[in-house]
Symmetry: C2
C-alpha cells in the first residue's frame, strides 16, 4: 500500500506540528540508549527482512492486543465493544510504522511525526484522526511495557531470511533501542510541563 493511500498518515506533511524535542536533544538521547550508526544499519537490514512479513507480524501483535482486555479497551466504543473499523484504520498506519522504524531515517520530519504519534495516543489527539468515538486517552502505563512483547515476537520474523543468530540479535536490539527512544518521544504530551 503506498503511503498516499493510508488515511491519517501525515508523515512529512505540513499538518504535522514541530517536535518540542530538538535534533540535538535527540542525539543526546541516542547516546543514553547506546543507539549508533550500526543500529541504524541493522534496522535498515530488518526493513528488507520484514518487507513481505509485515501483515504476519501485525497478525501476531493484534492477536496479543486482542487477548488482553486492558489493551483492547483503548479500541472500544462507548458500548464496550471493540471498534473494528478503528482497529483496521490504525493497522494500516501500524504497517507503515514498521517500515518507517526500520528505514531508520530519524531526521527532523521523523522527529516531528513521533510527536504527532504521541499526541494521537494522548487525549490531546486520540480518536480525531479516525473520527471514532472511543476511550479518550491511552493510559501511559501501557506504552512502555509493550516493548517486550512487540520485540520478542518480532525475533522469529527477523530470523526467517537466513541471517546468523548474531545478526538477528543485533537487529532485534536495534528495534528495542528504537522503541525506547520512540516511546520516550511519544510520552512528551503526557508529562507535566518542565518535567520531560
Amino acid at each position: 500500500m503506498s503511503q498516499q493511500l493510508i488515511p491519517g498518515y501525515t508523515y512529512g506533511t505540513h499538518e504535522v506540528p514541530r517536535s518540542p524535542v530538538t535534533i540535538e536533544e535527540f542525539e543526546l538521547l541516542k547516546q543514553a540508549v547506546l543507539f549508533t550508526d550500526e543500529d541504524a544499519r541493522h534496522l535498515q537490514l530488518s526493513e528488507k527482512v520484514l518487507e513481505d512479513q509485515v501483515e504476519a507480524v501485525l497478525d501476531v501483535w493484534y492477536g496479543f492486543i486482542g487477548s488482553l482486555p486492558q489493551l483492547l479497551y483503548y479500541f472500544t466504543r462507548p458500548d464496550g465493544q471493540a471498534d473494528g473499523a478503528y482497529l483496521a484504520a490504525v493497522r494500516k498506519r501500524f504497517a507503515q510504522w514498521i517500515r518507517d522504524t526500520a528505514r531508520a531515517n530519524y531526521d527532523q520530519s521523523w522527529l516531528d511525526y513521533q510527536y504527532e504519534i504521541g499526541l494521537r495516543h494522548h487525549r490531546t489527539g486520540k480518536n480525531t484522526t479516525d473520527h471514532v468515538n472511543s476511550v479518550a486517552n491511552i493510559g501511559f502505563r501501557y506504552l512502555f511495557p509493550l516493548i517486550f512483547p512487540v520485540t520478542i515476537t518480532l525475533k522469529p520474523f527477523l530470523a526467517k531470511k537466513g541471517h546468523s543468530a548474531e545478526v538477528v540479535e543485533k537487529m532485534q536490539q536495534a528495534w528495542v533501542k528504537s522503541l525506547l527512544l520512540q516511546i520516550t518521544l511519544w510520552s512528551q504530551p503526557y508529562i507535566k510541563p518542565g518535567d520531560f
Copy 2:
C-alpha cells in the same frame, strides 16, 4: 551492608507513602509485559549469581553515567561539578536496588517503594533524601532509555556462574521486563493527572 545501615533506604517502613497503583492494576501491567512466575524465578536465580558482583556491576553503570554529561548532570551541584557524596549515597541504595529487583518479591511494600523511588527522581522528592543541593528534577526523557545499557552490561555478569546461554538469556529478559514495569511505576509523579 545490612539494610539498616543504608541511609535513606526506607523500604517497608511507615515513611513510604502508599502507591497510587494497586496490586490488581500491577497484575494487569505484568500481563502486558509478559511477566510470569518463570521471570520471578529467573530474577531470583540472578540474585545468587550477582550476589558477589554487585559492586562490579555498579562500577560499570557508574562508569556509563559518568561518561555522559547529560546523565551526570543530575548529580551536579550549582557550580556544575558532580557531587561525590551524593553519588556515593545513591550508590548504596543502588546496590540494594539490585538485590530487591532480583529478589522479585513484588508485593504491596515493593509497589509502595517503587512510588517512593519515582518521587525521588521527580522534583517532588529529588535531593531531599540525601540533603543535597543538586538539579531539581531528573528529566523524564532519560528514565527509560537507560534500560538498554543497564541490562546489556548486566549480561556478562549473569553469565559468570556457568549457567547455559538459554538461562542467562532468560535472566536478562526477566530484568528487562522488571525494569519496564519499575520505570513505568516510577513515572507516575511525572504524568499529568488522569493520564497515567
